[in-house]
């Protein structure tokens, strides 16, 4: 656990993106798989996923752009900004030199999750857009052309891979840092994917109930599939906690760590199972279980994204597993100087100071 690092301040927007992007990816993934494997009734029901995947992923794109300190430079993730500017300066697209510069302008680092994630998100967005149009406007002429078996199979094939990527790369992105907890495990990525699938299914269940889509049998299948996804998430959460080893103790001294573990276990895993077991097939219980899964998913993302900041705020003493009461704050005698900056109240400005 490296507690000498600086906090990247990935907070609300990132949590919102991880949560909603996860729902979009999980729902899309399941919808494509159901369209391949399921009956026509199932496929008709699965279409609700396509209604939400595109709007959610567009919303996520907005969150990600807003989270940048220089939002107007969001396109630097996809194009090398200086090379692109040079290409235009050389007369792209009207000159050969401009084209030569442009050919080198794509920015792609497969080993950097944020770089490859930007591409994954773009590809997923494109697939989600096609599926959205086919689901919502099947009678448009252009959509009728697209809505052929081989085209849709190709779109789904690419979309499924992109959805698995978008659902999981966020965990790999956290692990590919030097931050405490995040970089101490490689299980965040599969855990986030499982959470994507369970929350995506929960969103589909709620939407199907609300809009009364599909036959009761198909809805029942979807609801029981959500339980299966919750089981997978439970296994991966356990693997994640085991992989932390000795670092689990300092993590459990943080509010975020407790939210991550107990919020996810109680709201996301235990509550849906109990509701299913006690209240069975009643209509409201299915919806309640789905809401619990969504709350659990939000707890998981919130806890995972904010736990590093809390450990860093505690300072290097946190690594020793010392309880917060025993940890002196910076400024107290004998405190560990740490490697970060305490916040101070705003300074009164001098007269004439801008």
């Amino acid at each position: 656990m490296n507690l000498f690092v600086a906090d990247p301040h990935w907070y609300g927007w990132v949590v919102a993106y991880f949560f909603l992007g996860g729902i979009a990816a999980g729902a899309y993934l399941l919808a494509c798989l159901i369209e391949w494997f399921g009956t026509d009734d199932d496929a008709r029901l699965a279409r609700v996923a396509h209604w939400i995947a595109l709007p959610l992923i567009l919303l996520c794109a907005v969150f990600l752009i807003v989270d940048l300190h220089r939002p107007e430079r969001f396109w630097h993730m996809i194009f090398k900004s200086e090379v692109t500017k040079q290409a235009f300066a050389e007369g792209f697209p009207f000159t050969a030199t401009g084209w030569r510069w442009a050919a080198d302008s794509l920015m792609f680092k497969p080993w950097s999750p944020m770089s490859s994630g930007s591409w994954g998100l773009s590809v997923f967005g494109a697939c989600a857009a096609v599926s959205f149009l086919v689901a919502v406007r099947p009678h448009w002429r252009a959509v009728r052309w697209i809505n052929r078996p081989w085209v849709m199979h190709a779109v789904r094939a690419v979309g499924v891979l992109a959805a698995v990527y978008v659902g999981s790369y966020t965990g790999a992105l956290l692990s590919a840092t030097s931050q405490p907890v995040w970089s101490d495990t490689t299980w965040l990525s599969p855990l986030f994917l499982a959470s994507s699938v369970s929350t995506g299914l929960a969103a589909m269940v709620l939407l199907a109930r609300w809009k009364r889509v599909g036959t009761p049998e198909a809805r029942h299948k979807l609801e029981s599939a959500d339980l299966w996804a919750v089981g997978l998430e439970a296994v991966l959460l356990a693997a994640f906690l085991v992989s932390l080893g000795a670092y689990l103790e300092p993590m459990m001294f943080t509010v975020s760590g407790n939210l991550l573990v107990f919020g996810t276990v109680l709201a996301g895993l235990a509550a849906p199972l109990v509701i299913h077991r006690v209240y069975g097939e009643r209509g409201w219980s299915q919806a309640a279980a789905a809401v619990c899964v969504l709350i659990g998913g939000l707890c998981l993302r919130t806890g995972a994204v904010t736990v590093n900041a809390e450990l860093l705020a505690r300072g290097p003493a946190a690594a020793a597993g010392i309880s917060p009461e025993q940890t002196r704050r910076v400024g107290q005698p004998g405190a560990d100087p740490g490697n970060r900056m305490p916040e101070v109240p705003s300074r009164t400005k001098l007269p004439g100071e801008p």
Binding site: L29, K80, L193, R340
Partner: protein, 281 residues
């Protein structure tokens, strides 16, 4: 390519004068503090309990003299010791920030130093998360990542970096990397001969991230100075993360197959033409 250059910082001769910090501020025209959008000031004027007033590297402190105040563990704190170390970007041979930077803003220069190109940075903060030394910070006013440039502008004109030139005790030595590494080993041997057995080099020989261009001679464990003993490259986690995620993806697909597969074969593609309830056509 120009010659690879580096800093050799010998903490045994650092006197904590902060001339390096001041020189860095002056040359790079760094403000004393940044006014943040929320009205708070990001720098304490006086920390109040230490001569270490700036506390850490930051967007406006690219050099920072750490004052590590150690006291004996008894209640009276009968003995105390100060360690002083001028901290800076390590310009790692395998730089985690450069590896993760999704915009290509962070580059390696012809002097083998790591440099942030300001026009390309979009403030995603992946480098802040990746740096194992907590070097990179975001400028609240400019919205880009900030750190030591190794005085790239001065190197271009054959000048030593401002901090190294200002250092009155030669605690910060600047020069060609291989020459500094030899000097460091000589200095270590000299200290060992004098009985300073806890002296050690940090980052001089490629054991830390393939070697640090700004490496240190320390007394005691690196953790005492806020340096991680064994930092790792961010990408080392990516293959395993990918593997587990792929397995999970397969598990999900198998689960869906098991759950939704029909017993009878499905007719070859039936277009889903009927509009969904609640969606106008």
């Amino acid at each position: 390519m120009a010659q690879a250059v580096g800093f050799f910082t010998d903490i045994t001769v650092c006197i904590g004068c902060k001339a390096c910090q001041v020189a860095c501020h002056q040359w790079n025209d760094l403000p004393a503090w940044e006014d943040r959008p929320d009205g708070r000031v990001s720098l304490p004027v006086l920390s109040g309990d230490s001569y270490d007033n700036t506390r850490s590297l930051s967007a406006v402190n690219w050099r920072h003299v750490k004052f590590i105040e150690q006291f004996s563990p008894n209640a009276q704190r009968s003995e105390s010791a100060w360690l002083m170390m001028s901290d800076v970007c390590k310009h790692c041979a395998h730089a985690p920030c450069l590896e993760v930077c999704p915009t290509g803003a962070i580059v390696r220069t012809e002097f083998d130093t790591v440099y942030i190109q300001e026009p390309a940075c979009n403030g995603c903060r992946d480098c802040v998360a990746a740096c194992p030394f907590g070097v990179i910070h975001m400028s609240e006013t400019r919205g880009i990542a900030q750190k030591c440039t190794f005085c790239y502008d001065r190197l271009k004109h054959g000048l030593p970096p401002a901090c190294a030139q200002a250092c009155p005790t030669q605690s910060i030595k600047f020069g060609p990397l291989h020459q500094l590494q030899q000097e460091a080993h000589q200095r270590l041997a000299q200290l060992r001969r004098q009985g300073v057995t806890d002296a050690r080099l940090y980052g001089a020989d490629g054991e830390v991230l393939g070697g640090l261009n700004a490496f240190y001679l320390l007394r005691g464990a690196p953790e005492v100075y806020g340096l991680p003993a064994d930092p790792k490259m961010p990408s080392t986690t990516v293959p395993r993360s990918t593997f587990w995620a792929a397995l999970t993806g397969i598990a999900v697909a198998l689960g869906a197959l098991f759950k939704f597969r029909e017993r009878t074969r499905r007719p070859p593609h039936t277009p889903l033409a009927d509009p969904a309830p609640g969606v106008s056509v």
